[in-house]
Symmetry: C3
Subunit: 427 residues, 3 copies
């Protein structure tokens, strides 16, 4: 297991017990822990603030919650799992029969041993989530029911981390941080983003990389509302989620379908030989919904392993740290890194000797013994770069048309540039 994989898994395990929601101290504590690895600018937006079509809701916090059976035993206990309480449950303290309690209980009859994840952000109610097998064994009651929560004016909290680049062009990496004790969705995404940021900072990149850690939907909406005049700088972006399960990678295209991020990520996945899936945009899933709303229409895709809702553990207590693996997160990270390699290095070159092939042999770039049929890949890369460097094709175009990897093509372009045969174009 790689060091970076272990480190990501340790972060998932540490963040896992916290009760996150779209607001509240669970989010703040999560950001504090992230900030131990990468500096964050934390934003607090007050309840009632208008953000695009939405209003920042009241802040929700919870200290304890349980249901005690007639014998005083806690049959549902928030301390055991943050999933046991419906997110945004209003406070309650009552004694209820099972029949009275039942409308507030959520289970998964077809997965009787799992606790579901449920929320009710915009309708004031309360509820518990529990294993269906627990529910089946409950006597008629009465039950002592407690939810020690507060729903009050406060703030929505989100954070940004920026890796400054040579250019003001930005690449956005966005993770949702509103899910309570769920590991793949989305602590694995957070862990990959943290390590990607660290790696990008090792050497000043060409583009600026902006990492946004925000609650789903309302958080992305809030970020967009407060950055309307800056979204024009975003040339590419990835929404990172479900980054740690053992399934293969899935890339969901931006709404535009052929944005730079789409071409780059698809090339990286194809060239890697990894099994993977590419799907078209749909207006459901994670925060690409917001970034790709028609008014913004950003070139932002979504990278996951098994996608949204695509695994039985999804939004249940089975999405725990054991469900995500260090290897899978390392693989996701490596893919993200390769995507940034293409974003960083793709550019247009001009062949300065475009009439006929230049004589590579004279410049030490070509084997001297002719007649052999096993031309090497590096020679092919040089020939392809020369042939397509007419100002219309970037290195990514060359890689896609030639079937070579972006790395091979980039190496060839550098060799040719050093030999004076190629000139990089500014654009």
């Amino acid at each position: 297991m790689s060091d970076v994989g272990s480190r990501m898994h340790a972060l998932v395990e540490r963040l896992y017990p916290l009760c996150r929601s779209i607001t509240g101290d669970g989010v703040r504590r999560t950001l504090e822990i992230i900030a131990e690895s990468i500096p964050l600018v934390v934003h607090e937006v007050p309840t009632g603030a208008q953000v695009l079509d939405w209003t920042v809701p009241k802040e929700w916090n919870i200290r304890d919650a349980y249901v005690k059976d007639p014998s005083g035993r806690k049959v549902i206990d928030f301390m055991e799992s943050s999933l046991h309480v419906v997110g945004y449950s209003v406070p309650v303290s009552a004694t209820l029969t099972l029949d009275e309690l039942r409308p507030h209980l959520h289970t998964l009859p077809e997965q009787p041993h799992l606790i579901p994840y449920r929320t009710s952000y915009y309708a004031e109610t309360w509820g518990f989530c529990l294993r269906n097998e627990t529910l089946a064994a409950l006597p008629p009651g009465p039950y002592e029911v407690l939810i020690d929560s507060t729903l009050a004016d406060g703030h929505l909290t989100y954070a940004e981390h920026v890796v400054p680049g040579e250019s003001a062009d930005e690449v956005l990496v966005s993770c949702h941080i509103c899910h309570p004790s769920l590991a793949n969705d989305n602590l694995a995404g957070v862990a990959v983003a943290v390590e990607l940021a660290l790696r990008l900072a090792e050497r000043r990149p060409r583009h600026t990389y902006r990492f946004v850690f925000a609650p789903g939907t309302i958080g992305a909406v809030t970020w967009l509302a407060r950055n309307r005049d800056r979204v024009g700088r975003i040339r590419a972006g990835l929404v990172l989620a479900c980054a740690g399960d053992r399934g293969s990678l899935t890339y969901k295209r931006s709404r535009r379908g052929n944005a730079e991020i789409d071409r780059v990520t698809e090339h990286v996945l194809r060239a890697s030989g990894r099994p993977h899936t590419v799907v078209d945009f749909s207006p459901y899933g994670y925060d690409e919904r917001q970034y790709c709303s028609p008014g913004f229409d950003l070139g932002v895709g979504s990278l996951t392993r098994t996608p949204y809702g695509g695994y039985p553990e999804y939004h249940t207590s089975a999405d725990d740290p054991g469900f995500v693996s260090a290897e899978a997160m390392a693989d996701t990270l490596e893919t993200c890194w390769e995507v940034t390699r293409v974003l960083e290095n793709d550019r247009h070159y001009l062949n300065l000797s475009p009439y006929g092939e230049p004589q590579l042999g004279r410049r030490g770039l070509y084997g001297s013994l002719g007649g052999r049929s096993d031309t090497k890949r590096d020679q092919m890369a040089m020939l392809w770069v020369l042939n397509l460097s007419d100002g219309d094709h970037s290195l990514l175009d060359v890689a896609e048309r030639s079937g070579l990897t972006f790395g091979e093509v980039t190496w060839a372009a550098r060799a040719l540039e050093e030999a004076g045969l190629l000139k990089g174009l500014e654009r």
Copy 2:
């Protein structure tokens, strides 16, 4: 069997015995019977009239025809089937040996029990069509041969029925009515057109629907010649034929290949889940040949069940009322109706809240309990309509890209329009 199916089948049976051709009283009588269901404007165009590159031919009428064997028995009898006489046969009254008669006899050696359908509109001759098994049994003769026909100056007859709409834009539905006793080709097409017209008239449509009942080729040519200054109004059209056999539906694209009618009909067929076939335009078949000639190049496709020449009963006495079914005609009618539903309802909308998703929950358009993975199709429809309503995409575009049906998308657009989130665009 549906009422409408029975009604269509009854019309086929009633029209079947008439001896239609490209001119003559068989056509007039056919139109009289159609006019009992829907009002028709009948046009009479005189022999010799120049219509595009063609000239309206002499009018042909026939009263009787037979071939009597030496014993006086009618071995071929027009009264038994109108197919027995080659269409446009000139009058003849003669006594001939079998050898003399034989060049005038047409059979289907490979389908010996069927009578073929043959015509000779533009070369003056005469002939009989008969079962090959009848021919095989004929003694040497002599035979008394009679064709009591007239080929004389007269008129070409065609008719129109219009369902007026709010707009002068026209949708054309065209049926050929020149085939004698053939049921699928094309009495079934006529029957479907009649019922479609009745159904369209139940509520004033947005577009105007023009039904043309005309003899094949020369009739469509005549209609085009007399409406050259009006064809610009035709935004879409269908040539209806072979509408009643038990095979699956076939849509033949217009010459343009991506005209509105092409996209609409293909969507309807795809979304219906019906087995069906879509084929590209070719300059052979029914009157789409004329509507899609390069000078007009109208957006007119052709809807059939088993297409032109694609079934062994084609152009034989086996294409009788038993060959067409009420259910199949009802299915063709339903498809035509769905096509008109898309033509009527497709339009462009503008999302009035295009930055981020609007908060549907606040407007009662979204379930309040979050976390579930089984998002309903109506919510997906709303999200898709919102996401693509940027002024560039119509509801049909939304349906095609989302995989939802046009009906689902239309419902969502109405719900969003009522909620003030969407505005219909005029264009």
Copy 3:
């Protein structure tokens, strides 16, 4: 075996023993023999001449070469095969042990009974090519080694043959003539080109056809350097090579991918029913590399049977006259001829009666008896030509869309033009 096939095979056999290279008397003698069939203009370009990015090298000639073992027996003998000497070997006369000799010996360990083909044009060295099984049996030596060659200022030789046409537009056919005793690569290509030129000259063509016989790479580069102001006339071209093996045909597209030559050759191959392969351009192979360099980007593809490096006999002594067949060369020639038929005859026509179908029957172009379902291909061809002759579609477009052959479509266009229904457009 066809006469032309035999003639081509005889030419291959006659040219086979000559020791060709990129310069020298082997090339001159090859051109003399070709000139016995078709007149050639021979160009001599002096050593040191600058051609694009290259410099014309010294001229290489060789009279004899051998390696004698201690007993005086020639274990390697240039007189036996011109492949035995590495092309452009500098003179050598020495006595060497096997260990000293070994770095100068080239074999194919995996094809031990074959002599490889090797050259060293741009690095001054010397070497011998031999069967690995010969090498394995060699005693330690010493060996008498002789290469009686000269590498000195002289000329690069290439030749052109032109079949003048009505127009100054040119079609280029290019063959490399630098390979010594290799039959498929490229004497078969030369033989096919010679016969194609003879056949084109039988009747004055519409386009001018220019045949270039030149050494690979440096020859094409030289031709391009000396014709920079004329390449604009080249509307299409084929690099002909590997034209005689028994494999099926392979067409390699031009860099543009949809140039006239690409569409024409692909149509000819498809319509012929021949098994064949079409591959995209890549900047490796034969002289299409030069013609398709980005500065020229000519519409030049490459026609071979089994392509470059695609057969085990490639660049070995097994590529001898027995490896190529008269039938295969005749088939390649026929394909080239059909390509020229399309290049010669493709044009745009205008339907002069574009509104509705013109009445073909009146003009004797259509069967008079209607109702039959077996419409003939010639009638379909006329209908397709009429339908698509709107000024935007050429006869090749018609052939491609209709699925008919170019010949059928051309026949129909001529019949329609004679009937006054079609007018050829100049462009």
